[in-house]
Amino acid sequence: MAEQYSSFSRGGTGWLLQRITAAFLIVVLAFHFFQLHFVNHAADVTFAGTQARMENVGYFLTMVLFLIAGAFHGLNGVYNALVNQGLEGTQKKVVLAVLSLAGIALIAQGIWVAVAMAGWT
């Protein structure tokens, strides 16, 4: 009974991270909505405006974290939902792989976009 001292077991980590990202998302998502619909109207968004925001390193990092958290939270949520519906074996592995790839792609693309917005290219 003495092995397995360090790491989380799979289910537990995913569950905990889902909650932690959720807690984080509440804050940033609310901020995001306010920023882009109430403070600045979405209709008035221009590249220059976007760039002005993105150039701020703090904002940039927040948005990247927002993206990572959102992607993880969303895709992990989807994965769990599928697993809960009884996904098994290879199917499950395939779904996990596809979702992970999609997530990585999404994040990579997102970071690229953000970098472009900040004008650091």
Binding site: M1, Q4, S6, S9, R10, G11, G12, N84, Q85
Partner: protein, 294 residues
């Protein structure tokens, strides 16, 4: 029904019960259930006196793999004379004894302790013997528990449920016992109070039947088995190591993480066990245990 104790205090004693457990103790759980109960009663109750001398219309699910005409499931109608205090179980027993002796269902104690007669009554998992006909809308639709295979009429296959119950090592495992003749292990009142609700499970499977997750994932331990694990994991008489072992069982793939806090298990449990609460507590315990060694 909001009580910490279904049973009469004790049939035997000549005196009034002394200990608080024998009386009603108020708990949030109880209050919640009381409200639930009242809500239900207002919604559905038919004034009992209106039913006096009337018949109750039952629609009962019928299926038998062997009998022609019953292989394709159907609903049969029964009209049973109403009597004051009649329960769903009384009604189906009447229908069986008077109209159709092949009507099949499990039942035994008639007092909500044997857990044999959980049915799907008007769309909710309930114990037949604990459900008053007068509180139900008519016609009363009675079906076998959903999510379990039907063996015949209202009888479902319970094997899977039993397997899940057995999967959590549902037995006390403390090896080291107090020395000396007739020495019991000590347990604080608080600790017994903590596990009390969890020990009241009668294995009726209503909870498991109501859980969508259990329906989707056959290997999911299900609320009753997790509650059983809780009963031991939280019992201070077992050593810390055994508790860890137990947590490891429930935090497996198909264990506590599967629970999506749907609460339907808690809502249908005839013994008012706060199942969701217990499951959530185990999730936190499991996370805590894992964090400890990080």
């Amino acid at each position: 029904m909001s009580t910490q104790q279904e049973q009469p205090q004790e049939p035997e004693s000549q005196e009034a019960p002394e200990d608080p457990e024998m009386r009603g103790t108020e708990s949030p759980q109880q209050e919640r259930l009381k409200e639930k109960e009242q809500g239900l009663a207002q919604e559905e109750a038919v004034d009992e006196s209106d039913l006096e001398g009337e018949t109750v219309h039952l629609k009962v699910f019928r299926y038998d793999p062997e009998v022609e005409g019953k292989q394709e499931p159907r609903f049969d109608d029964f009209y049973v004379p109403f009597e004051k205090g009649m329960t769903v179980l009384d009604a189906v027993m009447y229908a069986r004894d008077e109209f159709d002796s092949s009507l099949t269902f499990r039942h035994s104690c008639r007092q909500a302790v044997c857990g044999s007669d959980a049915f799907f009554v008007n769309g909710k998992q309930q114990l037949g013997c604990k459900t008053q006909i007068s509180e139900l809308k008519q016609p009363v639709r009675i079906e076998p528990l959903p999510h379990q295979e039907v063996v015949k009429d209202l009888v479902v296959d319970m094997d899977h449920f039993y397997d899940q119950m057995h999967a959590v090592e549902p037995y006390f495992q403390q090896e080291e016992l107090p020395d000396g003749d007739l020495e019991e292990q000590r347990q604080s009142r608080e600790n017994r109070e903590k596990v009390k609700m969890s020990t009241r499970c009668i294995w009726c499977a209503a909870c498991m039947s109501s859980c969508n997750i259990a329906a989707g994932d056959n290997e999911y331990l299900g609320p009753a088995a997790i509650n059983k694990a809780y009963r031991f994991a939280m019992d201070e008489r077992e050593d810390e190591e055994i508790k860890e072992h137990r947590l490891r069982i429930v935090e497996q793939e198909h264990g506590v993480w599967r629970c999506q806090t749907q609460f339907s298990c808690t809502e249908v449990c005839p013994k008012d066990i706060p199942l969701t609460e217990h499951i959530q507590e185990l999730k936190r315990e499991a996370v805590k245990k894992n964090l400890k060694f990080w």
